[in-house]
């Protein structure tokens, strides 16, 4: 992997997404072309229903495009089979959603350990990493709590930490601050800006929030199935 700052991490060319709907087909994305670079923080704005979540799902290999190509470090993810896409996500992608990020049956500590464990990081190193993350969040004393004991903001901070724990190339955040008050939103956002930066991780956040857009390196707009925005 090239270490040069600003290398393209993920490239989209002419990506289409069509959902089969009850009677007719719904075209949500119609020809998206974009390049996301190493270490940048991109905010994607758009009205509700414009296809933001759909786009993030395609980027993370959760869903497949109906047409066009998505290349991650030059490798086309649309051509990967289910198993390989799973492994791709496991290694290279971190997700932050608006809700339901954490596994309710695992403690906070175990939630953070989880992706490291999946990636086969040895236990001692993984534990050190989790302790380091928790102390950066200021939640060292909450490691043994289960997620439902935490406030929404705390849960969301843990979710951010988990998304970066295994040092992925790409963090995809779908309305990461959607249900938080302003102060809490700022806290979470600060983490989302700062944590990935250390590892040169690209962050793509879908949002309605001007607050999120305000701190992005680049803002793109999703409208009528196409993506436009100034290249940084």
């Amino acid at each position: 992997m090239s270490m040069t700052d600003g290398d393209p991490v993920i490239e989209l060319s002419d990506v289409h997404k069509i959902y089969p709907d009850a009677q007719r087909e719904r075209t949500v994305l119609r020809g998206i072309n974009a390049t996301f670079r190493r270490g940048e923080f991109v905010a994607i704005l758009g009205r509700s229903g414009s296809g933001k979540s759909t786009l993030l799902n395609l980027l993370g290999g959760i869903d497949l495009p109906s047409g066009g190509d998505i290349r991650f470090n030059g490798l086309s993810i649309a051509n990967l089979n289910e198993r390989r896409r799973t492994l791709f996500r496991r290694e290279h992608v971190g997700f932050v959603f608006q809700f339901f990020n954490l596994i309710p049956t695992l403690t906070v500590f175990e939630n953070l350990l989880f992706t490291l464990d999946l990636n086969g990081v040895d236990r001692a190193r993984a534990q050190r990493r989790v302790e380091e993350l928790l102390s950066r969040l200021g939640l060292s004393d909450r490691g043994d709590s289960f997620p439902d004991r935490l406030s929404g903001g705390e849960q969301q901070r843990i979710a951010v930490a988990r998304a970066v724990a295994h040092r992925p190339s790409l963090v995809l955040a779908d309305e990461p601050t959607g249900n938080l008050d302003r102060d809490t939103e700022r806290e979470v956002l600060a983490l989302l800006r700062e944590m990935p930066k250390r590892d040169d991780t690209t962050v793509i956040a879908a949002t309605h929030s001007p607050e999120v857009a305000g701190c992005a390196d680049r803002v793109m707009r999703l409208q009528d199935g196409t993506l436009d925005g100034a290249q940084s």
């Binding site: 959760i62 198993r83 799973t86 992608v93 959603f97 339901f100 350990l113 464990d117 999946l118």
Partner: protein, 837 residues
């Protein structure tokens, strides 16, 4: 791996559901293991006693009903130099001074000893003179002597065939082996001639045991046998005897497997519901990069954990349960087949291994679909319950179509003539499976039909409850199917038993037409002909028929003979299935024809005009079959022949019982009292009125089905646990929905009404579904399973109580399952449920 921790925590998070699943599987496994251990123990007890009696003997010479002439033994030993030969005289006697306890007398040759290993080993230290020095000398086991309070030497009064005898107990014996001591428990050992006198068979031997190790000698001995005798290998003979109980065992095993299948439904349901409820969590795991295989494995692991715990608990419960069931099984074997002393459950590793394998196997099969479901959850967190439900409803039609496959398989297996019992049971299980596939479609139909009625009677709550049922189809369909199957099994078995019972009752009314029955039950000693003559001369006696029940033992098994000395009127008691009394009678009376019972005809594939071969005292001979009669007394079948025929071919004057027909106007009870006091007093004979004999027969009938009833109840218990667990989890899952209702002004009472209406409706649906399946199962049991097991037909008697009971059972199970969640939900403050989700 942390994923495994997720699995374990999921189980701990819903402890009640986990525990109920474990209990369900445990009960299923317990029933299977208990039945297997019980069958195995009976089989083992039989084998051990058989081995003990045979000892080192490899063969037996068996005679006809009156045994063998003792000169045969002398000839074999002296003239032909066969060394390994032991004569045996065996008979039953009573001890009048000890509450009439029954003992077996075994006569042995003190010089040749015996092959009976318990006797052989326990008497090793004694010299032959111990039995010969004193007239009527006898040996008793230590235990028996102590139990009877005898001082040695001492005197023991015994009552045999021809009255009382005084035996001189010269010594006691004991073995260092517990089983051998057990075998000697109620045995008196004498020399041959004493045993012959006591049993009233002077000059006769019960059998001759032989140790023949080379085929040439076997052939030679066979050549030396008189016509009425047969040489049988001891192992083959044991097996043939044991075959008698096979169908009985298979039926019990099948019932126990049904319990396991219901337990399997339970674990399937628990896992399916748990996967559906965790959809969002699984989707999150998928976004984090957990692969489909890992998800499959983690759900399978959860199921296996439940299964393994269930199996472990099931082994314990099964062993305990087998102790309870053993008595019932032993009773039935003794009532219907042969005398068997089995008091101990022998826990065989093989039985346990089978139980474990079945339990784990059932779990794996049950977990397959939910594990697959989990592995197919897409990584999108677009969970909607209604989405799952519409998918579930979409599959309803497909499942119903797919039901055709097992249904056709069932029809073929059940209807194809000449199919085996195993094919019959396999067909039954296919039918149940097909029905389970149809359940969701039928459930929707029932709710649709019930909807207007519910809306009218319960208003809004009724409508909501009906919707609640269709909206939770993905979670309820398996439970409903399981409950319906269990209830239908209970209904079906219930109908079968009561049809059978009614058939037998009707049959007995025709079959038992005499007023009084006198029998020498339990001993082969028989009734004194002089006594019968005296009874026949009593005023009021219209006629007397006598009967002789005996077995023809041979290498191929045992044939039960029923020898009847009767006039043509008594012959009318037989109800013919094939042939008729009028045309059969002359041939039966004078022309050596026999009639056979329906089971005999079925097992041996004989009909009117065919012949059966019986070993007479003058060698094997063919007898024409003049009729096939209904009989429910023996499932192996009976060959009935006239006394005259019997006397022509066998020299055995013994009479087992006689029946007294009274003149019209004579009171049977008064006559019975006179008969008892005047003639029977002091004899070993039992007098029973027609009514008493019928009651006794029905008692035996009911005892036979006691174990079936236990299994029925256990199966229903497992299903109720299943519905309880499933409905509870569904209702608790809807905490948030109910909290919204509460927030909007629903009272706890209304919530309670909603939940119990819903679960009651599910129970009702299961009950309604169970009725047609129950009827089908009853018909299959009556016309296929019973026929293939025992060879008899019965009339179907449908009474409403089985259906009502099934319905009540199902609704009660549903309501019961609603109570706990309703209580809990009604108590939870709505704010709490709204916050947590």
């Amino acid at each position: 791996m942390i994923l495994a921790r997720v699995s374990m925590r999921n189980l701990l998070r819903h402890p009640w559901q986990s525990i109920l699943s474990i209990v369900g599987i445990a009960l299923g496994v317990a029933v299977v293991i208990a039945i297997d251990l019980t069958n195995e123990s009976a089989r083992r007890a039989f084998k051990l006693s058989n081995q003990m009696v045979a000892g080192q003997a490899t063969h037996h010479i068996i005679g006809g009903p009156s045994g063998l002439d003792e000169t045969l033994y002398r000839d074999l030993r002296v003239e032909h130099g066969i060394r390994g030969a032991w004569p045996v005289v065996e008979g039953r006697l009573r001890l009048p001074d000890h509450d009439g306890q029954r003992f077996t007398v075994i006569g042995v040759d003190p010089f040749a000893q015996t092959s009976h290993s318990a006797i052989h080993r326990s008497t090793r230290g004694l010299s032959p003179t111990e039995l010969l020095s004193v007239h009527n000398a006898a040996l008793l086991a230590d235990d028996s002597a102590r139990r009877l309070g005898l001082t040695i030497p001492g005197e023991l009064r015994v009552h045999g065939a021809k009255g009382d005898h005084r035996l001189r107990v010269t010594a006691t014996v004991s073995s260092d082996n517990a089983l051998e001591n057990q075998a000697l428990r109620a045995v008196v050992i004498t020399d041959i001639s004493t045993a012959q006198v006591v049993t009233g068979n002077v000059g006769r031997l019960t059998r001759i045991d032989l140790e023949l190790n080379d085929p040439a000698t076997v052939t030679r001995v066979r050549g030396l046998l008189p016509p009425g005798a047969e040489l049988a290998g001891s192992a083959a003979r044991g097996n043939a005897l044991q075959q008698m109980t096979r169908a009985f065992e298979v039926n019990l095993t099948a019932l126990s497997l049904l319990a396991l299948v219901v337990g399997m439904f339970l674990i399937y349901n628990t896992m399916t519901v748990s996967v559906l409820q965790r959809h969002r969590q699984i989707a999150t795991l998928r976004t984090l990069g957990v692969g489909d295989r890992e998800l499959f494995a983690s759900v399978a692991l959860e199921a296996l954990t439940l299964g393994a715990l269930g199996v472990v608990a099931g082994i314990g419960v099964g062993i305990v349960l087998s102790h309870q069931l053993l008595g019932l099984v032993a009773q039935t074997i003794n009532d219907l087949y042969f005398r068997l002393d089995v008091k101990q459950v022998s826990v065989s590793a093989w039985s346990l291994a089978k139980g474990i394998a079945l339990g784990i196997g059932a779990t794996v099969v049950a977990a397959l679909a939910p594990a697959l479901e989990a592995s197919r959850v897409p990584p999108q967190i677009t969970y909607t319950r209604s989405g799952q439900e519409s998918a579930a409803r979409g599959s309803v039609g497909r499942l119903a179509w797919f039901a055709i496959v097992p249904c056709v398989a069932a029809a073929v297996l059940l209807l194809l003539p000449g199919g085996s019992l195993y094919a019959g049971f396999t067909g039954l299980f296919f039918a149940i499976f097909g029905f389970a596939l149809l359940t969701p479609a039928l459930l929707l139909l029932i709710v649709r039909l019930a909807h207007p009625w519910l809306a009218r009677t319960l208003g809004l709550i009724g409508r909501m409850a009906a919707r609640g049922v269709t909206e939770s189809l993905s979670r309820t369909r398996v439970t409903i199917a399981a409950l319906a199957v269990a209830v239908s099994a209970t209904v079906g078995v219930g109908i079968m038993i009561s049809s059978f019972r009614t058939t037998v009752e009707h049959w007995l009314v025709n079959y038992l037409r005499a007023d009084l029955y006198v029998s020498a039950s339990g001993s082969a000693n028989g009734v004194d002909p002089g006594l019968i003559r005296r009874v026949s001369q009593l005023p009021g006696v219209k006629s007397i028929t006598t009967a002789r029940w005996t077995n023809l033992d041979g290498a191929a098994g045992r044939t039960q003979l029923f020898v009847l000395d009767a006039q043509s009127e008594a012959f009318e008691n037989f109800q013919f299935k094939d042939g008729d009394a009028a045309s059969a009678w002359p041939r039966f009376k004078d022309r050596d024809a026999v009639i056979v019972s329906e089971p005999y005809a079925y097992h041996h594939r004989r009909g009117v005009g065919d012949t059966v071969v019986l070993r007479t005292d003058r060698g094997a001979r063919e007898f024409e079959v003049a009729g096939v009669f209904y009989d429910y007394g023996s499932d192996r079948g009976v060959v009935a022949l006239h006394r005259d025929t019997y006397d022509r071919h066998w020299s055995d004057p013994a009479i087992s019982s006689f029946a007294v027909y009274l003149d019209a106007g004579i009171d049977a009870d008064d006559f019975a009292a006179t008969l008892q006091d005047g003639v029977l007093d002091g004899t070993e004979l039992t007098l029973r009125s027609n009514r008493q004999l019928r009651a006794l027969s029905m008692d035996i009938f009911d005892r036979t089905f006691a174990i079936t009833n236990v299994l029925r109840v256990l199966t229903v218990v497992i299903a109720v646990i299943g519905i309880f667990s499933a409905l509870m989890s569904i209702q608790l899952e809807r905490g948030r929905e109910f909290a919204v209702l509460r927030a909007n002004g629903f009272t706890p009472r209304q919530l309670w009404a909603l939940v119990t209406t819903e679960t009651g409706l599910l129970g009702l649906a299961a009950g309604v579904l169970a009725l047609p399946l129950g009827l089908f199962l009853a018909l299959a049991l009556i016309f296929v399973i019973n026929r293939r097991s025992f060879g008899w037909t019965m009339q179907v008697w449908l009474t409403p109580e089985h259906f009502v009971l099934g319905l009540v059972l199902a609704v009660a199970a549903g309501l019961l399952a609603g109570i706990y969640p309703a209580l809990r939900l009604a108590r939870t403050p709505p704010s709490f449920a709204l916050r947590h989700e």
